[in-house]
């Protein structure tokens, strides 16, 4: 079986044809399924992901992917990998576009993620044949496919000179919608995204902002279902504090004047019930 789709093939994604110099051939791994290309969102961002970046990627992407949007990204470490992972975690679809020959896994140490994508009916594609090595110039080429495949592009964290800004530029050039996720004004990894927002990119404050562009409107905000659940007094107090500010068990223990042992117990139980999630020791209301 030859895993190649040529530009003349009816299976070739129509959106991609519309860009300048679309790739003549697409090599792929996995099952080519035209439905995969119907609603694509490019998610790109910095390799130097901050903890905020990881957290917000997991949250936004999983909510978006859960609505059936295919997440397209570049399989690089940092935001790219986080986006693929979040899509998989939400049971969604994802496409990884490689900057190298189709037979290579780059970066190699993400082989686990690579297998995971294929196992979950995702797709790995590349315009380069065989074991073509990645080079400086292949990354922008790859970015043009990421942007070209997608109806919209979302940038989560980008430094001043991030490669994801190239993808953002290409998306605008191809008349696709551009989303940017705001970050802290002080963070170097927010400089790029904030500039995009200033220049007119749509600001993302929740998954709904992005989903609207795909005509999905009645997205449920997961946090809301919490209120209806019956929690005991300590649990209610914990949720109340955490809604104000995410914090560690130590801080909760001090604020509520309850031993760390009791807080730990409640928090574990609530986490397993899906009310809370933990990120680097701090607990957040889901």
């Amino acid at each position: 079986m030859k895993n190649i789709v040529e530009i003349s093939d009816p299976k070739y994604p129509s959106l991609l044809k519309k860009i300048d110099q679309p790739p003549e051939k697409l090599y792929y791994k996995g099952n080519w399924n035209a439905a995969l290309f119907e609603k694509c969102l490019a998610v790109v961002g910095s390799r130097k992901m901050t903890s905020y970046g990881r957290q917000i990627t997991a949250k936004l992407v999983s909510e978006i992917a859960a609505e059936g949007i295919t997440i397209v990204s570049g399989f690089m470490y940092g935001i790219d990998a986080a986006a693929h992972k979040a899509a998989l975690a939400a049971g969604g679809k994802t496409i990884a576009v490689m900057p190298c020959g189709i037979d290579l896994i780059h970066p190699e140490y993400q082989a686990d993620l690579y297998k995971e994508i294929l196992k979950n009916d995702g797709l790995i594609i590349s315009e380069f044949e065989g074991a073509f090595p990645p080079a400086l110039w292949t990354y922008p080429r790859r970015n043009r496919i990421v942007a070209g495949l997608s109806l919209a592009a979302m940038v989560i964290e980008a430094g001043q000179k991030s490669g994801s800004l190239i993808t953002a530029g290409l998306a605008e050039k191809y008349k696709r919608k551009l989303f940017a996720v705001p970050g802290q004004l002080t963070s170097t990894q927010s400089k790029g995204t904030l500039r995009l927002i200033k220049a007119g990119a749509s600001i993302v404050t929740c998954a709904q902002d992005v989903l609207a562009a795909y005509g999905i409107s009645n997205h449920k905000i997961p946090g809301e279902k919490l209120r209806s659940l019956n929690l005991n007094k300590l649990e209610r107090n914990i949720v109340e504090k955490l809604q104000q500010e995410p914090m560690r068990i130590d801080a909760l223990s001090r604020l509520l004047e309850v031993t760390a042992s009791e807080i730990g117990t409640s928090v574990s139980l609530m986490q397993l019930k899906g009310f809370l999630f933990e990120e680097e020791g701090k607990y957040y209301v889901n």
Partner: protein, 512 residues
């Protein structure tokens, strides 16, 4: 004239009887020889003994003196044959009648006085075992030997004193028997738990660790108080029992770590070797196997700061002692077993630069670097650590302002009370199992002592899926939950016990 003096030699914690035979020939050229596989230190005892005798103003015989250390096929080392050799020569020159059933042991100084010599306790224990009534040891080592009941320990200051005793000019009193009491207070640990502000969860983990003997892994940025916490943990452990104290003292005696005039080791050892330590330094060894840090921390705490900086080969060597509580060092000439039942407290930075998740300082590491750094600690070692906990940086200034918090902080003594109770519960439970703490439980013990209700099992399964727990972690969680239940005086492990235990699950991805 042939004289026989009894002494003993230590190999690890074993003691072997050694007969020192002294022959002073009536003819032939004068000479002084030691035979019977002596090493350099023993061979040099010729010069020490000769000079010490001369400096004690006793005529050194101008005869042919042959010393044999029997049995002749065991290699002899150390300086403690000085005294038996000197005694034998004195007896042959002056014609003293040596007391019967006596062991002699000690190193001589050139001026004829006796020096503190390692292993006096082992000798004393040996004498008791063999029914030997008297032992003569250097005065500085007498307290160490006097721990053993039923053995007359004669503290010897110098050759002159001993010779006066033999000739009946003075009388010698045996050292007083030093009784080991169970009710010692732990000597104050360096830090009291009440001195640590914040870190509520880490303190709780320390309490669980101390109660169940669980190993503890602390992850936190530099300056977050990992070391302080580890040192304070020493203060909440129950004090050593008489039996434990003797075990520890034996190891310290064998390696010469008991100071002159020192006696029983009464405080739990706290050892914190630097990460440049060698394999031999950590687990023990060399040609004459010496106990390493793992044995020196027997019944106490082994604190390995900067755990991920330790060479892998060194850490891998921890596997046997962690698993078995003892360590066998085999060398071509001998094989020695040292006990090594300790609580391991490991601490590490969250990333190479140390400031990952720090509220103020930026972390300079890429996620790739962080991942690589965390993988540096070997999986099998992490598998043997039950409790994993983050130690975040606390804003001390902010916390110190809050007087209310400060006054309410629990002192170590109260926490220790709970720990002792929990240990007592465990002691009764494991009466027939030959183990002492929950951490020592093997799978069969877990099956026997930790039946889980349907709800608890369900919770654990749910956690297994959500937190990607390995099969090993699954058992660790049960052990930790058992200890939490013991602290709670609960016979059964409840859902809340298990839920709390899940807080201490390994966060570093384990490799299967």
């Amino acid at each position: 004239m042939l004289i026989k003096v009894s002494s003993a030699s230590n190999s690890g914690l074993q003691t072997i009887a050694i007969d020192v035979e002294i022959n002073v020939a009536g003819k032939g050229l004068p000479a002084f020889e030691i035979i019977g596989l002596p090493n350099k230190a023993v061979d040099e005892s010729r010069d020490r003994v000769k000079t010490a005798i001369i400096n004690s103003h006793i005529q050194f015989p101008s005869r042919r003196i042959t010393i044999n250390l029997a049995p002749a096929d065991i290699p002899k080392e150390g300086s403690f044959y000085d005294l038996p050799i000197a005694v034998g020569i004195l007896a042959s020159v002056v014609g003293y009648q040596l007391p019967e059933e006596s062991l002699f042991f000690g190193e001589l100084s050139l001026d004829g006085t006796l020096r503190h010599t390692r292993g006096a306790l082992l000798l004393s224990l040996f004498a008791k075992e063999k029914g030997i009534k008297n032992i003569f040891v250097p005065k500085a080592s007498a307290n160490e030997a006097a721990i053993v009941k039923g053995v007359n320990v004669y503290p010897i200051e110098s050759l002159n004193q001993l010779s006066s005793y033999f000739s009946g000019e003075i009388d010698l009193q045996p050292a007083k028997y030093i009784e080991a009491k169970d009710d010692w207070m732990n000597a104050q640990a360096e830090f009291d738990m009440a001195e640590i502000l914040g870190q509520e969860q880490a303190k709780r983990a320390a309490e669980i660790s101390a109660s169940g003997g669980h190993n503890l892994f602390l992850v936190g940025t530099p300056g977050s108080g990992k070391t302080m916490l580890a040192r304070a943990l020493a203060g909440i452990l129950p004090s050593l029992s008489e039996k434990e104290s003797l075990e520890v003292t034996k190891i310290y005696s064998a390696s010469g770590r008991i100071p002159p005039e020192g006696s029983l080791v009464k405080t739990r050892p706290f050892r914190a070797p630097h990460h440049t330590i060698s394999r031999v330094g950590l687990i023990g060894g060399s040609t004459k196997p010496q106990p390493g840090e793992v044995s020196l921390s027997h019944r106490g705490i082994l604190f390995l700061d900067e755990f991920s900086e330790f060479p892998r080969s060194v850490l891998e060597a921890l596997r046997q002692p962690l698993e078995d509580g003892s360590l066998t060092i085999s060398r071509s000439r001998e094989r020695v077993t040292y006990p090594s039942r300790f609580v391991l407290i490991a601490s590490a930075n969250p990333c190479p630069c140390g400031y990952l998740h720090h509220p103020k300082k930026p972390c300079l590491c890429t996620s790739r670097e962080v991942e690589k750094y965390r993988k540096r600690v070997s999986g099998p070692i992490l598998d043997r650590i039950d409790l994993h906990i983050d130690v975040p940086v606390v804003d001390i200034k902010e916390l110190a302002k809050d007087r209310r918090l400060k006054d309410e902080l629990e002192p170590s003594a109260i926490i220790r009370g709970r720990v002792i109770r929990a240990r007592e519960t465990q002691k009764n439970r494991f009466f027939d199992d030959g183990i002492h703490t929950n951490a020592e439980m093997k799978n069969k013990h877990i099956k026997k002592h930790c039946p889980l209700s349907k709800e608890v099992r369900h919770l654990l399964q749910q956690a297994g899926m959500n937190f990607q727990l390995s099969a090993r972690s699954y058992y660790k969680m049960i052990k930790v939950a058992r200890t939490i239940a013991d602290l709670d005086d609960s016979r059964d492990i409840t859902v809340s016990h298990m839920a709390e235990a899940l807080q201490y699950r390994p966060r570093v991805q384990e490799r299967e």
